[in-house]
């Protein structure tokens, strides 16, 4: 009898130990190699707008926290549309802007950047803007922590997407005038379901409340811009991690030793106020 009671007691204790089967997160100190600085170039020209370029440098992964990077202030940048060219002007915080050449659908733009004798080049062609077919807003009720009720809306968008051609798109969401950069989304129609010549997607940032404003922008993009944003979004949203077989840096328009993109894009823009 004693043996039996002892066995039951031991087994009961054992059965209560479930913590070991829980996944745990453990902070780590990682020592990595010092690879020096990488030149970072983010650049674009939008429809009916002048060129915009921002140049900065990377920091060591274990470097002290900083809100802003080390900017390049002395770059010489020239943009050409094949007919004319202009030099961009530095306006601060690593940003250089054009003044005369505007983005036009069908044009191919080339950009040349010189930094301390090193030359970087990139090209991009502006494709026609994508168009929106429909949007549906589905209301539902939510309550805040004080129990007060609000009406929120789930947004669903359908973008015209011809099935006969391979198309790639870049989507942006702005909520109440703020661009949710981390949620920029690039889609290749080769990789998604195309139903009735349309791409179906929801607002991936957050649902909106009554009175808020959502600005939805969509542009058709070339392959190099798609490849860049495809990886960008996976990194930003944590889909690509160190445990991945294939993490990699977004493909740079400017070649090895750099990170960044040059894109000529024509956005269609739509505003929704539920």
């Amino acid at each position: 009898m004693n043996k039996l009671l002892t066995a039951i007691l031991i087994l009961s204790v054992i059965s209560s130990c479930t913590k070991g089967m829980q996944e745990e997160l453990i902070p780590l100190n990682i020592n990595v190699n010092n690879i020096g600085s990488i030149t970072v170039i983010d650049s674009k020209i939008e429809m009916d707008s002048t060129a915009w370029v921002q140049i900065s440098y990377s920091e060591d992964i274990n470097a002290v926290f900083t809100l802003s990077p080390n900017y390049e202030t002395n770059a010489i940048i020239e943009i050409s549309d094949g007919i004319s060219s202009e030099q961009l002007t530095y306006i601060g915080e690593g940003v250089y802007k054009g003044s005369s050449i505007l983005g036009q659908v069908g044009n191919t733009y080339s950009i040349t950047i010189e930094i301390n004798g090193t030359i970087y080049n990139a090209l991009s062609t502006m494709l026609p803007p994508a168009t929106l077919r429909d949007i549906t807003l589905t209301p539902y009720e939510v309550a805040d922590k004080d129990g007060k009720s609000y009406t929120a809306y789930t947004e669903n968008w359908i973008v015209n997407d011809p099935s006969a051609t391979r198309n790639r798109y870049l989507f942006e969401w702005w909520t109440n005038g703020v661009h949710n950069e981390r949620m920029d989304w690039a889609i290749d129609d080769n990789r998604v379901v195309n139903a009735n010549e349309g791409l179906f997607l929801g607002n991936i940032t957050r649902d909106v409340y009554e009175g808020e404003t959502t600005t939805f922008r969509v542009a058709e993009i070339d392959k190099s811009t798609y490849d860049y944003f495809n990886m960008y979004e996976k990194i930003v949203r944590g889909i690509a991690s160190a445990g991945d077989q294939t993490p990699y840096n977004p493909v740079s328009s400017y070649g090895p030793g750099t990170v960044g993109n040059f894109r000529a894009v024509a956005f269609s823009s739509y505003i929704v106020v539920p």
């Binding site: 059965s15 902070p27 190699n33 992964i61 926290f65 991690s241 160190a242 840096n249």
Partner: protein, 813 residues
């Protein structure tokens, strides 16, 4: 003239008589060796004749054949775990003699072999091969309530797991898909439950297993690194018996019986996470964590019901069955089947995956020297995911015809040959939007035919040399319907396409000879040197986007754009026994060169692309290393310590800028030890068996960012190279206690049947080491309450298991 012709005839007659007289001076003794209780055939049984010093062993079907001179002979039949039998036979003709061996009570006591014959570790022709029967497997401490085949083989030198709780195993730096996993000759494509926590092999249904790390015989093909050949239990032709186990995590049953005595037997076994204590434990787990605080990973809420991992709730089950029909003395028909399924419930929906396999085999004995086996085998693996709006399907099917012969040319020579043809169909994925009328995306299915002829010959010379030579000729045809595509190498865009409409259309063909050879030199009864070479062609590859096999990874065949992988492996080893074979030492060095290793190009995170082939990058790989193992296999105290050191590198132009990099299967150092003690002579503790494991290995390679940068206000990590760093080293210790008290056994009055209860307690990871299986780089963002973090990014490891106790109650009858 007539006299001349007559003389010729007389001479011919005398010659003929003398030939017949000579041929009648030796006879063949053959038969089948079985377990006396279960009736299960026993392979590897040693048959030795003392006076002539000749011997042989039973084959995979328990069949043996030995040629002996006319007259009286004393034969010893011996097998580890069984009481040896000595038979006296007076041979005057060919004789069929079936043998039934009885299991010994102390199952690892020395019962083997005449003292004139060296131990198998030294004398067998096999190098890089380890065979274990179920009694040896059961000595390993149970883990998470299960005696697990994969965890057992991971205790052997040169074999490692990818990471804790992850599917698959690594052999000598080879990829996870380079291991051919066979269950009664049925190939399995995803052989794990619960994302790798358990294998699909129910130990209660396993009879024996053999792992080939190298020296792979010619009868095996299709994979480059290793073969795990698991033989499932045959049903008994004599008596019925069974076992029920109720555990905290899994519960299982097994049962075998003669349907018709000595004619038709059946064996069935099943396991589930939802029976018995598994279900109650689920409730205890839920109740002990009502606020969901246990899960710190910020997921679903921390419920631990039914073993929650990665914010999912997971359950599984599997079933095995085997029917054997002895049609007559020369013919048997065997059916073996497996069905298993996993379910995972997440916030996104339900996913399930599983294997279904069946094997129908006809065994025929032509005569005492020649036997054949003819097989039809089907194996399928399917996955299904339901995320509400989207549903996903993928799968692979394999349909095989095999015809094999074994010819016992002499006592010291065996010839095996045969052919095989396997049709494969691949469904790489279908994604359906259920809210749309035509909202579906189907990956183009693929088909292939893998055929082979093989021949292998094993011969021993003068008890000093043994050779095992083989040749396999394999051919792969990619079949229609489908299309071949030419891709732009830079952009991966399609340039041109050719359509093939019929399944008889051959879209691509590969033919590869695969020579195999192993050589043994027995220096003396305690020392031997062995060497082997094998070439293996692999026509399938498992494409995975993560660091380990997942249920949604896909198998891809060789195509006109993706070539087969060819592996050449060399191994040499020194083997020695000490103290009259009580201690066994094994040392081996190996080198593997692989042409055609495959990896996805950087950045692919989705299989649903029309031009998936274009993203497969191929290159070369090499692995080399050294293994040493010391084992005490017999007695109250048994154990093994093994260590291996090695390196595994790949070189692919499109990855890591063409620089060589450690692939994710590279393990530099690995130390495994396992010990077991059963004090059989102690009155107080004779019913207890204590087992201890200790495992250590170098963390596997990972890719970590070295710097970060800003795009607008978004901070981004930057990676310089692939697999430059390593996870923290892995180590853990497990303890197992088995209590099987004879005093608690009882017999029924009606039929005197004995019931034997036992308890298994398992303490997994006893010092609660939180081993890390992956590292996430966390973006710290802006600081809260005005206090910024010390760095923009910080590293965070994820660990699956800490200390996990479990127990299991068993009842054998």
């Amino acid at each position: 003239m007539i006299i001349k012709i007559s003389k010729i005839f007389i001479l011919a007659f005398v010659f003929f008589i003398s030939i017949n007289a000579n041929s009648q001076s030796s006879f063949v003794l053959s038969g089948i060796v079985k377990d006396s209780v279960s009736g299960e055939t026993l392979s590897g049984v040693s048959i030795y004749e003392e006076s002539t010093k000749t011997g042989t062993s039973s084959d995979l079907n328990g069949y043996y054949s030995i040629s002996l001179t006319k007259g009286e002979h004393f034969l010893t039949f011996s097998f580890i775990g069984y009481i040896k039998q000595i038979k006296t036979i007076n041979l005057t003709k060919n004789v069929i003699l079936d043998i039934k061996l009885s299991s010994s009570e102390n199952q690892l006591e020395e019962v083997v072999v005449s003292n004139k014959k060296p131990d198998k570790n030294v004398t067998s022709t096999e190098i890089s091969i380890k065979k274990l029967n179920i009694e040896q497997i059961k000595r390993i401490p149970i883990v998470m309530g299960e005696t697990d085949i994969f965890k057992t083989i991971q205790m052997l030198p040169g074999i490692n797991s990818v990471a804790e709780g992850r599917a698959g195993f690594i052999v000598r730096g080879g990829g996870l898909d380079q291991n051919l996993i066979l269950m009664d000759e049925m190939p399995l494509f995803y052989a794990s439950h619960q994302r790798g926590l358990y294998s699909v092999f129910n130990a209660a249904a396993v009879s024996e297993m053999t792992i080939y790390k190298g020296g792979i015989p010619a009868r095996f093909g299709g994979r480059s690194s290793a073969v795990l050949d698991v033989k499932m239990t045959d049903g008994s032709f004599e008596n019925y018996s069974g076992e029920i186990s109720l555990g905290l995590i899994t519960s299982k049953f097994s049962f075998e019986a003669p349907i018709i005595k000595d004619k038709l037997s059946i064996f069935v076994a099943g396991r589930s996470t939802r029976w018995g204590f598994g279900y109650w434990y689920d409730q205890i787990s839920r109740n002990s964590d009502p606020n969901g605080k246990g899960d710190k990973s910020g997921g679903k809420g921390g419920t631990t019901g039914s073993l929650t991992f990665f914010q999912t709730e997971e359950r599984w089950f599997d079933y095995n069955t085997k029917l054997i029909w002895k049609i007559n003395d020369k013919n048997s028909l065997i059916f073996s089947g497996y069905y298993g399924k996993d379910f995972a419930y997440t916030a996104a929906g339900l996913t399930n995956w599983g294997n279904q396999a069946g094997h129908l085999k006809w065994s025929h004995i032509f005569n005492e020297k020649l036997i054949s086996n003819t097989s039809l085998i089907v194996s399928r693996y399917n996955t299904f995911g339901d995320g509400g709006q989207y549903q996903f399907y993928s799968g692979i099917g394999s349909y095989t015809f095999k015809h094999n012969f074994t010819y016992f040319a002499a006592n010291d020579a065996t010839w095996q040959f045969g052919l095989q043809s396997e049709y494969q169909d691949f469904n790489h994925g279908s994604l359906i939007d259920v809210t749309q009328d035509d909202g579906a995306k189907f990956m183009p299915p693929m088909q292939g035919l893998e055929s082979s002829l093989y021949s292998e010959y094993k011969k021993t010379f003068n008890e000093k040399f043994a050779v095992h030579l083989g040749l396999r000729l394999s051919m792969y045809n990619r079949l229609g319907s489908g299309h071949t595509t030419v891709f732009d190498e830079e952009t991966n865009e399609e340039i041109s396409q050719t359509e093939y409409s019929s399944f008889t259309d051959v879209m691509a063909t590969y033919i590869n000879p695969e020579p195999r050879a192993s050589l043994t030199y027995i220096v003396n009864k305690n020392n031997s040197i062995k060497a082997s070479y094998n070439r293996n062609a692999q026509y399938l590859r498992l494409m995975t986007l993560g660091s380990n096999i997942t249920w949604y990874d896909i198998w891809m065949p060789s195509t006109e754009n993706v070539e087969p992988m060819i592996t050449d492996q060399f191994a040499i080893g020194y083997f020695r026994n000490f103290f009259d074979n009580k201690i066994e030492l094994s040392t081996e060095a190996y080198y593997k060169y692989q042409n055609g290793v495959s990896d996805f190009e950087d950045g692919l995170h989705n299989y649903l692309v029309d031009n998936l082939e274009a993203y497969v990058a191929q290159g070369t790989g090499k692995s080399y290393g050294f293994e040493i193992s010391i084992e005490k296999p017999k007695g109250d105290f048994t154990g093994r310590i093994s260590y291996n050191i090695g390196e595994s590198l790949w070189e692919i132009d499109e990855i890591n800028q063409g620089r060589p990099y450690h692939n994710m299967f590279d393990i530099t150092h690995s130390l495994n030890s396992q010990f077991s003690y059963n004090p059989s002579k102690s009155k107080l503790f004779k019913d207890f068996t204590l087992s201890i494991n200790f495992v250590y290995y170098t963390g596997r390679p990972v890719t970590l960012p070295e710097s970060y940068y800003y795009i607008g206000n978004v901070s981004m990590p930057f990676w310089e190279a692939r697999n430059q760093y390593r996870l923290p080293d892995y180590h853990r210790m497990d303890i197992g206690i088995n209590y099987e008290p004879e005093s608690l056994s009882f017999k029924t009055k009606e039929n005197n049947r004995k019931f034997q209860p036992s308890i298994d307690i398992s303490l997994y990871n006893i010092y609660n080491r939180r081993n890390i299986f992956t590292i996430d780089m966390v973006n710290n963002g802006l600081g809260k309450d005005g206090v910024n973090p010390s760095s923009v990014f910080s590293a965070q490891g994820r660990s699956t298991f800490g200390f996990v106790p479990s127990f299991q109650f068993n009842l054998k009858f």
